[in-house]
Symmetry: C2
Subunit: 149 residues, 2 copies
């Protein structure tokens, strides 16, 4: 069945962020859209942000584009250029290597839902605001200097 039964997909609410960076994403849940339909060429995730939740700490990827489609609710895209409201139907692109850290924040009173698409992550991810980094080859979170948490 090409249409995905979202309710049948387990929602993931955990994060690999070390404390205290995990707090901002506590209201985030996401579902992988790859497994049920056999999607293999890229990664697609369905993300729900409870009121107050962030999609992620502000970050950018060295080697993978990200593409976002806002599905329902309102949210704010935060990046180096400031704050941009996102409404259902809005699309956004975060090109690899642009150095523009971004995240989505739900400042409203109802859930904000979006779908995000990208290639599997294999490169460093940078967090301009905090002492965090993802090491490309291992995809493990480290301090900015590469030491372990």
């Amino acid at each position: 069945m090409p249409k995905i039964d979202l309710d049948a997909i387990p929602a993931i609410t955990t994060t690999g962020y070390p404390s205290p960076y995990d707090r901002d994403v506590r209201g985030r849940s996401w579902r992988s859209l790859n497994q049920p339909g056999g999607l293999a060429d890229f990664v697609a995730n369905h993300v729900t942000l409870a009121p107050g939740s962030w999609s992620a700490q502000r970050h950018w990827h060295e080697g993978e584009d990200e593409f976002l489609v806002m599905v329902s609710g309102d949210a704010v895209l935060v990046d180096d250029q400031g704050r941009t409201p996102l409404r259902p139907g809005d699309c956004a692109v975060f090109p690899k290597g642009d150095g523009n850290g971004h995240c989505i924040v739900n400042e409203g009173d109802s859930p904000a839902i979006f779908v995000v698409v990208g290639l599997p992550e294999r490169t460093d991810c940078h967090y301009p605001d905090i002492d965090l980094r993802v090491d490309g080859p291992t995809q493990v979170y480290t301090h900015k200097d590469g030491t372990a948490y």
Copy 2:
């Protein structure tokens, strides 16, 4: 600016389909989401179907997955399994090589809008209902036996 200004992207309303297969997609317009934001890892298109329009002739790709997010309006997904309503927020996956021809039809009274994502098309595309085929290496439409239109 990561958020894409859809109104600034030219809408494409032409099709490469030979007559009479072009008629069903006359109410289709689409915008490429790659150019304005610098998206390069995959192809993303924003598609609007006027009432009565089809997204495409029913088809499947040998070598590229397709992923769809319904953004607004209602539509019907038509494939080998029958007819499946699509509403805003619904997602669908069309895995490469599955032999299940699919298309989206707007049977309603208002526009139906979706975003579709895939890798650049490089393989044969098959149209089970009509005498049409896309040749992989050239991406040219031919008869099913490979002769030119």
